[in-house]
């Protein structure tokens, strides 16, 4: 499709859907209430939205959907760090059911016992999976969960009167940037541990960093390199000894479900991304869901309300005076809680472990295939297995051909697959991160490796094809300069018409 912008479609008078008009008797009774408002508050001209018939709207967005590569449609192992696993279709049916979709959060609890029980059960499941004492399901996604944990850490130190003193949070370079950014936003100074020669966070740097100002350590393990840090318990111990808390970013938990937990490593807090490890769909970037697990000591600070079971009924407990308060409206992203619950329930303990083991097998299998491709290398921890993902480097290929990892990614798109080049931190040169999860079959992995091999071969033998890619995508190479130029960037059609087309609306 060469689909136009929606503003270029339609004709005056066309309608996509008709809303109800006021009933005549209602109008007879109350007239037009807007007339009782000052003119300044009554909208003078309707918003300049497009006007399209219903089928025309549908067709436009269906075509856009076909111009989008959902995980369902491809072997989506190239968005490494994102845990692109299969999101079972049956779980979607539960959340589309009106007995979830139509529920209002202010309904009397007697009319929503099913959803309250489900949330309560999911908390119990995640308590066991993490080993923590309470789990909040309120955060809207992983970064919001990190924020929640930072807020809990802040509340903890504030309650002990140490917040003024403990104003530093330590994190690692390979942890998600939201760890650093949430800490900073919450008012902490951020100290980042960089990887040592083997790619592990530098333990000596940690020893040097901790002290009376240490509020907490926010750390991921395995990190996005796929390497598991075997000294993780020691990291925790060092921080604890300095009086800090330790929060485990479990974005990469998929490979270690049932194998090792936050509890065993001594963490005070942890969080999961339900849209990664627990299979809820990624939805173009949310809605997602996060889960924060904490020890009993920190439980009073968790967001309110919690769901409690009083022996007969499930109730919402909003009377939590030490709580950090609301992290989002109501109870959380309920549809994704439903999906995560269904996923765990479908698998059980054995299935969760099988998922983890298979994800790791798939990862090492793909590693075995990919490392043989010309121009690729596997930095750090030579000879050690990887857990859930591998950060590769195309440094050699770059030196040989001048092409960048990004170019290879654009060319990979021509083969109908993803390859995500946005790999903070930019420490590994020419990075590529692959994370196959448990969802892909052996044939899928072979196919993906073959695509990479073909792209690498082209890079060496026919570099121009790669340099000018994509060739089969919906659009061609994008000009990036306007995106950083305030004079022409265009975040809306209004702005584009004014700034680029020179129209005066």
């Amino acid at each position: 499709w060469d689909e136009k912008l929606v503003f270029e479609l339609g004709a005056p008078g066309e309608r996509g859907v008709l809303p109800p008009l006021p009933e005549p008797a209602v109008t007879a009774a109350v007239g037009d209430p807007a007339e009782r408002l000052p003119a300044a508050l009554r909208r003078a001209t309707p918003p300049a939205l497009p006007e399209l018939g219903q089928q025309q709207v549908l067709r436009h967005y269906l075509r856009l959907s076909q111009e989008n590569l959902g995980a369902d449609l491809n072997v989506d192992v190239g968005q490494g760090t994102c845990t692109m696993k299969y999101s079972p279709k049956v779980n979607d049916t539960f959340v589309r059911d009106p007995r979830i979709a139509a529920l209002h959060p202010a309904q009397d609890p007697s009319t929503v016992q099913g959803v309250l029980e489900l949330v309560h059960r999911l908390e119990q499941l995640l308590k066991e999976v993490s080993g923590m004492d309470r789990v909040s399901l309120q955060p809207g996604a992983g970064s919001a969960a990190i924020w929640t944990n930072v807020s809990v850490i802040r509340a903890h130190h504030a309650a002990r009167g140490e917040l003024e003193q403990r104003d530093e949070i330590i994190t690692t370079a390979f942890s998600h940037p939201s760890n650093a950014a949430c800490a900073k936003t919450a008012g902490f100074r951020v100290i980042t541990l960089h990887p040592d020669a083997d790619g592990y966070p530098d333990i000596e740097a940690l020893r040097a960093a901790v002290g009376p100002r240490t509020a907490a350590l926010l750390i991921t393990n395995p990190e996005d390199t796929g390497i598991y840090n075997p000294r993780i318990a020691e990291f925790v111990r060092i921080v604890h000894e300095a009086g800090g808390l330790c929060a485990y970013d479990q974005a990469n938990a998929n490979g270690i479900l049932g194998i090792t937990r936050a509890r065993e490593a001594g963490f005070d807090l942890c969080h999961f991304n339900l849209h990664k490890t627990f299979s809820t769909p990624h939805a173009c970037g949310g809605p997602a869901a996060g889960a924060c697990g904490v020890t009993a000591e920190l439980a009073p600070y968790l967001p309110r309300p919690t769901v409690e079971f009083d022996g007969e009924r499930y109730v919402l407990d909003d009377d939590r005076p030490d709580s950090v308060g609301k992290i989002r409206p109501y109870l959380g992203v309920v549809p994704n809680l439903v999906r995560a619950y269904a996923w765990i329930t479908a698998l059980g303990a054995e299935g969760l472990r099988e998922a983890a083991e298979t994800a790791v097998l798939n990862n090492n299998y793909l590693l075995h295939r990919v490392r043989r491709i010309r121009g690729v290398s596997v930095p750090y921890a030579e000879g050690r297995p990887r857990v859930e993902q591998v950060r590769y480097s195309w440094q050699q290929l770059n030196e040989d051909t001048g092409l960048h990892s990004e170019d290879l990614g654009y060319r990979a798109a021509d083969f109908g697959t993803h390859y995500w080049t946005s790999h903070h931190p930019y420490v590994v040169p020419e990075p590529m991160t692959l994370e196959p999860t448990e969802s892909y079959s052996r044939a899928d992995l072979d196919e993906y490796a073959a695509i990479l091999a073909e792209v690498a071969r082209e890079a060496y033998e026919d570099p121009e094809t790669v340099r000018t890619a994509p060739h089969n995508s919906t659009v061609h190479r994008i000009r990036h300069e306007p995106l950083d130029d305030p004079a022409v960037w265009a975040v809306s059609w209004r702005a584009y018409r004014r700034k680029v087309l020179g129209e005066r609306p």
Partner: protein
């Protein structure tokens, strides 16, 4: 024939025993244990997780979930008078069709090449919302209206370098809680009543980063003084941050046209199911002012040319603002939030068009006025603010014996959901919240009034 074959889980194809064996052999490993060599024994869980037995089939999973769902009551829209931040509006079938497409539902963070559709749909969302809000910049949605408000205030804080945030009028206490958590240690909240004099007084103390006010407040009241607050803010060198119910903007003036610097709110009314509070998503809009654009933490998609003349491409505007790019040096933080709700809202606005938005605004104003009039006729019920114009939400006061909680319970017994008690002391509260939308018929509203007539003594 009756030999049992392995029940390979459908979600984990390579757990088929033969496949697993062959893959291990190819890698040269004896066992998956080898891949866990780096996890010390002391950290290993030495037992299986204690979880309920798996259900063994999709059919049993469906039966189990059905059992849970059967204990939820999906209330017909005409029987529910609940609002206050989450609404049952009509969700056009086309919206659901689009957001349930595999291609959108399961995509994530691909490049603008293979994920062109997502970029275009979200850019169009930004553009459609920009028309509704009368602004030039709208972000890719953040989590919810709470976050949008909190971030808008911190944007104002950074833009002005000031500390105090003046919050005007009746605001959802949960939203205040979220704002308080989010600005803690950085900003001070000053809550003032919806009265220009109070705002003026608060601003007189100086150091105000923002005046935050609402076009329609937590009680659904259209705040007619909004233009004045905006003017006062500007006079004090503060930014004006306006919170809006987006569906009201077919009928009411977008605050940006009144001079508001930042407009924020929640997308949920625009074609997103309530889902027990899971359908929220936040928007922030502003003029295309470089100073403000630089303060957005969210992604902002932009329209750009490609190597092919006439072709549209999309990308991230001013990406170096974000924590994705520069970690703690970025503006606040950004992550997966609520993109699909943005697509939903975009489809909704496209379907409704200018006239649909105008009509629905008018219908809700009319239904609200009618409901207020009918309920006020019930002996023992009076309006909290009889002279105001309300949109969707409103509050009534009971003058009789029964408390708001008792009345809500009596309504529930009649299959009517509404009258949520107002105030901290819910047990003794004498005020109840109601909400009507375009989905309520006159008969629905009359039924509520009749029920109250029986209940309220």
């Amino acid at each position: 024939m009756s030999t049992r074959v392995p029940r390979t889980h459908p979600y984990i194809p390579n757990s088929a025993p033969q496949v697993r064996k062959a893959m291990l052999a190819e890698v040269g490993a004896q066992d998956v244990e080898e891949f866990y060599a780096d996890i010390p024994a002391a950290l290993r869980l030495d037992r299986p997780l204690r979880l309920p037995e798996p259900l063994g089939s999709e059919a049993r999973l469906v039966a189990h979930m059905e059992e849970l769902l059967s204990r939820n009551t999906a209330v017909p829209p005409g029987r529910s008078f609940l609002g206050a931040g989450c609404y049952r509006h009509h969700v056009p079938a086309v919206v659901d069709e689009i957001v349930n497409r595999s291609e959108f539902l399961t995509a994530y963070a691909g490049e603008p090449y293979e994920d062109h559709g997502r970029f275009q749909a979200l850019w169009e969302y930004q553009s459609l919302m920009a028309e509704l809000l009368a602004v030039d910049v709208v972000n890719v949605p953040t989590y919810d209206g709470f976050q949008a408000a909190a971030t808008a205030l911190r944007m104002a804080g950074r833009a002005t370098g000031r500390r105090r945030l003046v919050l005007v009028g009746a605001i959802d206490p949960d939203r205040i809680s979220r704002i308080r958590d989010y600005v803690r240690g950085v900003h001070e909240l000053v809550l003032v009543p919806a009265d220009p004099a109070a705002v003026r007084a608060a601003l007189a103390e100086g150091d105000a980063a923002a005046v935050y006010a609402q076009l329609t407040d937590h009680d659904g009241r259209v705040d007619q003084e909004l233009p004045q607050y905006i003017e006062l803010a500007h006079q004090a060198g503060a930014l004006a941050v306006a919170h809006v119910h987006p569906l009201s903007l077919g009928a009411l003036t977008p605050p940006a046209e009144l001079g508001a610097d930042l407009t924020c709110g929640d997308l949920q009314p625009l074609g997103i199911h309530p889902s027990y509070g899971g359908g929220n998503a936040g928007f922030i809009g502003s003029a295309d002012d470089e100073r403000l654009v630089a303060e957005y933490p969210s992604r902002l998609f932009g329209l750009v040319p490609t190597d092919v003349p006439g072709e549209y491409g999309f990308g991230d505007v001013a990406y170096e603002r974000t924590s994705f790019a520069v970690r703690e040096e970025g503006k606040e933080w950004v992550g997966t939030a609520a993109a699909l709700h943005g697509i939903a809202a975009g489809v909704y606005l496209t379907l409704m068009g200018p006239h649909g938005m105008r009509e629905i605004g008018a219908t809700i104003l009319a239904n609200t006025a009618y409901a207020r009039q009918r309920l006020a006729e019930v002996p023992g019920v009076e309006l909290a603010d009889p002279r105001a114009v309300h949109f969707a939400d409103f509050t009534v006061r009971y003058t009789g014996e029964r408390t708001a909680a008792e009345i809500a319970e009596a309504l529930l017994a009649r299959g009517l959901h509404g009258g949520t008690p107002v105030g901290a002391d819910e047990a003794g509260a004498r005020e109840g919240r109601y909400c009507v939308t375009e989905l309520h018929t006159r008969a629905d509203i009359d039924r509520l009034a009749d029920a109250l007539e029986e209940i309220v003594k």
